[in-house]
């Protein structure tokens, strides 16, 4: 039986951590736009989903969603469970798609391809679980 070369194990570990930081950066950075910077553009994204600006302001949705993204970004760094990675991949595609629907250039969505692919790539590298219980383990 062939055994893995040590350098290959190091490469796999490096790749795993590189992708973890990519996913974490995408989530934490984007979440900070809302929770820390309170970007006005976020009102446009919520408007696409039918939330008026007054509703968003009164409920603090920008800070809540932004804070949740930051939290998930930190969590995925230390606990990259497959289910979480799959959710984050879908979330990134969904949240970035809001940009063109909110009136931003479509290239803003295209340019963020790496942000959307990172969770999927990490999921592939770590392995697509066969058993349901494995989806919530690392």
């Amino acid at each position: 039986m062939a055994t893995e070369q040590p350098v290959a194990s190091i490469r796999r570990t490096q790749l795993d951590w590189l992708l973890r930081f990519a996913v974490a950066g995408a989530l934490v950075g984007h979440g900070a736009y809302g929770a820390v910077l309170a970007r006005a553009s976020w009102f446009g994204y919520f408007a696409v989903l039918g939330f008026s600006q007054s509703t968003v302001e009164s409920t603090g949705l920008v800070r809540i969603i932004g804070g949740a993204e930051i939290a998930l970004g930190v969590i995925v760094l230390v606990f990259p469970a497959p289910a979480l990675l799959l959710f984050l991949a879908a979330w990134k595609v969904f949240s970035e798609l809001l940009r063109p629907f909110a009136g931003e250039p479509f290239w803003e969505f295209v340019e963020r391809a790496s942000n959307m692919v990172a969770p999927l790539a990490l999921l592939y590298v770590r392995g697509w679980p066969v058993f349901i219980a494995k989806w919530f383990e690392t």
């Binding site: 490469r11 790749l15 992708l19 974490a24 736009y33 692919v117 790539a121 392995g127």
Partner: protein
Amino acid sequence: MVGPVASPRETASLVPMRRGAFGDAGPLHWMLRVACAAEFVGHGAFGIITKAAWVPYFGVLGIPPELAWKLMPVIGTIDITVGLFVGFVRPARVLLLYMAVWGLVTATIRPLSGESIWEFVERVPNWAIPLAFLSVRGFGRSRREWLA
């Protein structure tokens, strides 16, 4: 080959990691390749159509606005060309290295121009994904491999 049915820990001792074997075939190669290509085409598009927000980035390097507006389409053309080449021709290692370095430079220049540090944080994938793709393909050991 390491595939989508078992964890890395389970397969680590079973599958020999040939140079490039992990990446030069299959879903991971194409995921990373499409991401790199789309990132550069999207970024380059803004250079072609020009973007006022880019002027301060040139200012960090001491380039005045008049010259910045002229350089934007040049940079945009280079970005799009590199993106399309990587996407449709071949993801040459030297280009992936260029993408990683350029992604890091453009991400770093934003806080240096006065924007929030979170602009850099959100753009970590811009350089990390090309670097990951290069890692998957393996660094070149000869000039020929760097061009391949």
